[in-house]
């Protein structure tokens, strides 16, 4: 801090401390109040999380109290038909498999594309190119997901139908690709940050040993930044699992277990949208099933975050 550069600031600071009315008790009291205000703000996020969890857990409990529902059916069945048919079945795997299919497709696009772009931006791109590419990526990240959903339904799917045979109008592939495009800027931007954070001395040492640009990027910088890159990947996976609007518009509404990406699937989030927008009579078992699905979604994302933390610790490289 160049202290001499701002005489106004230093006089302002002096004025504060020279205030003749400052009493020790007043200052202490104020410090305590500020301290508690800050704690309160920090606790707000915990409060929200806990209350959401509480509601989820309570309503999920209600769901399992219904005579039609058993835990064995919920965790052991692949049939999810809460409203149709004579035998209602609540097998969560039908919805989980839809979510997984979409996530795998999305990640197959977002991860390689994002990582390669990040390596290019961080290691190869001239400054001028980066100055153009970075804002474009940020624009991509700012597009509302409903636009992506419409794009998947009206543009990606017709293109797929021209290339592949037997592609449904609502299909996992189109929705998955759109989710992949959505996640791509996240992966790219976070990975690039991680790559650029690798100290310059490492690169210079590698060049000094006779490494080519590619050697340096892949064999030195990438492993050094691995922890950050894995964080980026996991964030993208979590985003894909929770993505709602795209799958609600473009993936379809038929919950079933399949690995064929040309078929229509329903994800956990997609089911919640469909049920929440009209089709449901309040306080029946279908209504509570919403919470059970939400709870499962929560557990899934939480597990992912925990794994992420463990992995990140294990791969962390310190260069201080």
């Amino acid at each position: 801090m160049p202290s001499a550069a701002s005489p106004e600031l230093s006089t302002a600071v002096q004025q504060v401390f020279a205030n003749p009315r400052r009493s020790l008790r007043g200052t202490r009291a104020r410090e305590v109040i500020i301290y508690f205000c800050l704690i309160l703000c920090a606790c707000f996020s915990i409060l929200i999380t806990v209350s959401i969890l509480g509601v989820l857990a309570k309503e999920t409990w209600n769901f399992f109290q219904d005579e039609d529902v058993t835990l064995a059916n919920f965790l052991g069945s692949t049939k999810w038909n809460p409203t149709l048919g004579s035998q209602h079945s609540f097998g969560i795997w039908a919805l989980v498999s839809g979510t997984m299919l979409i996530t795998v497709i999305a990640m197959a696009i977002a991860l390689p594309l994002g990582l390669i772009s990040a390596i290019y931006l961080s290691e190869y791109a001239p400054t001028r190119v980066r100055d153009i590419l970075k804002p474009v990526l940020e624009i991509l990240a700012g597009i509302p997901t409903v636009v992506y959903g419409f794009f998947a339904l009206m543009t990606i799917t017709p293109m797929l139908q021209r290339v592949l045979s037997e592609v449904n109008v609502f299909n996992a592939l189109g929705a998955g690709i759109a989710v992949g495009i959505l996640c791509f800027p996240t992966v790219c931007s976070l990975s690039e940050d991680a790559l650029r954070a690798v100290p310059r001395s490492l690169r210079e040492a590698a060049y000094g040993l006779g490494g080519t640009r590619f050697d340096v990027a892949i064999k030195v910088v990438l492993p050094a930044a691995l922890s950050g890159i894995i964080s980026a990947f996991l964030l993208a996976v979590a985003r894909a699992i929770g993505e709602t609007m795209i799958v609600a518009l473009a993936a379809g509404s038929r919950p079933h277990v399949t690995i064929d990406p040309r078929e229509d699937v329903q994800t956990m989030t997609g089911y919640m949208v469909q049920m929440a927008t009209g089709d449901i009579s309040n306080y029946d078992v279908e209504y509570y099933s919403l919470y059970a699905v939400a709870f499962t979604l929560f557990v899934l994302t939480l597990t992912l975050t925990m794994i992420g933390n463990i992995v990140r610790k294990r791969f962390r490289e310190k260069y201080e």
Partner: protein, 377 residues
């Protein structure tokens, strides 16, 4: 949201963008209505499309009344939605200060909101059920039952479907019920292609679903559980028009509006054994059986003292024939509208479709919708 209406929304390709455009257009037209009555003429022409000139002329002449104020909430069947929307929008031209938002959350949900007193008018694509009637009785929500149009529940396939020439009720059973569970088209009739059938159906809370289920699966049976369902008929249109091996069903208006993208299947009349298309003439004569059905609105009797509700409902019934035709449905005989109007004026409450013992009455509207059949509480 009153001016969201007009039948041509239904004729939009898949909904969203044209709908937005329509909202903008309607807003601008509605805005100049108060001062210039020729604006109504323009909107009427844009909305009608195929309606006969004499009927359209009937809707064009009106005076604007800005004194009547109020809000009439309408919700229920997505099948009746186009008619109610058209009625609300026409009414809003005459009474610009009455706000009439129309929802489409399904017949079952509509009745639920109706019975809890949240809405004034409930759209229904089937008559009230016994349990709903009992709940209404318990809650003390007395109502007037008004048939507004005929609908031919239309079974549709993809435009490029060359094999389905007609379907019998038995074949529909094979496709749609739990007992049938046909996987491929070849399971329905020998010689049809071995491609998996994809089914798009309205949501379980809709009257269309109930009606179809009762006709195809019977009172005890169930429809299969692996169908794609949506409350939004436009999603079903998108689904069927985008999948070559698909089949779906919804109200005839949604087919009429999308006939360039879909193919309606002639249904074999079980009595005459001849295949019948859901044309207006066939629906009105009852020839299109068993899928021709009346559509209703239910009006809360306790709210009919309010001038806004009363005038709206009267207006609705007086113009129901024209509105139904404009939106792709079939008008009921004038006699029925006259009886309904008489019931509204006399506040004659109750349903005609349940006996005093709670048994369901069925038959043509002319036979059932009579004073002698009315059951109230």
């Amino acid at each position: 949201m009153t001016n969201r209406a007009l039948p041509f929304i239904v004729s939009s390709r898949t909904g969203l963008l044209p709908k937005l455009a329509a909202i903008g257009l309607c807003c601008s037209l509605w805005g100049c209505n108060g001062t210039d009555s020729t604006a109504g003429k323009n909107t009427g022409a844009a909305g009608s499309g195929s309606a006969p000139a004499s009927d359209a002329a009937d809707l064009e002449k009106f005076e604007v009344n800005t004194e009547l104020q109020g809000k009439v909430l309408v919700d229920g069947s997505s099948t009746v939605f186009p008619i109610s929307e058209a009625a609300a929008s026409e009414f809003a031209k005459r009474y610009p200060n009455v706000n009439i938002p129309v929802g489409s959350s399904g017949t079952g949900n509509g009745f639920e909101r109706f019975i809890t007193g949240q809405i004034e008018v409930s759209d229904a694509s089937r008559p009230i059920k016994q349990d709903e009637f009992l709940k209404a009785k318990e809650a003390g929500v007395d109502f007037v039952e008004v048939p507004v149009a005929y609908d031919g529940l239309t079974i549709v396939v993809h435009k490029a479907n060359t094999w389905v020439d007609q379907l019998t009720v038995d074949e529909l059973k094979k496709i749609f019920t739990e007992q049938g569970m046909a996987k491929n088209w070849s399971d329905v009739r020998a010689g049809w292609p071995e491609n998996p059938i994809q089914i798009f159906a309205p949501g379980t809370a809709s009257g269309t679903f109930d009606y179809f289920k009762e006709v195809v699966a019977g009172k005890e049976g169930e429809l299969r559980s692996d169908m794609s369902t949506s409350e939004d008929d436009n999603v079903l249109v998108t689904g069927v028009s985008g999948s070559p091996h698909s089949i779906g069903f919804f109200g005839v208006a949604y087919f009429e509006a999308n006939s360039d993208k879909l193919k309606a299947v002639p249904i074999v009349n079980p009595k005459t054994s001849s295949a019948v298309m859901p044309t207006p003439a066939n629906i009105e004569s009852g020839e299109y059986s068993p899928f021709s059905r009346p559509l209703f609105i239910y009006v809360a009797a306790s709210k009919m003292g309010r001038p806004d509700v009363k005038r709206f409902v009267q207006f609705y019934v007086e113009h129901a024939a024209t509105l139904a035709q404009q939106t792709g449905y079939v008008a009921l005989p004038q006699e029925i509208y006259d009886r309904a109007l008489k019931n509204i004026k006399a506040k004659a409450t109750g349903t005609h479709y349940l006996t005093a013992e709670g048994e369901k009455r069925s038959g043509s509207v002319m036979d059932v919708f009579q004073d002698a059949n009315r059951t109230s509480f």
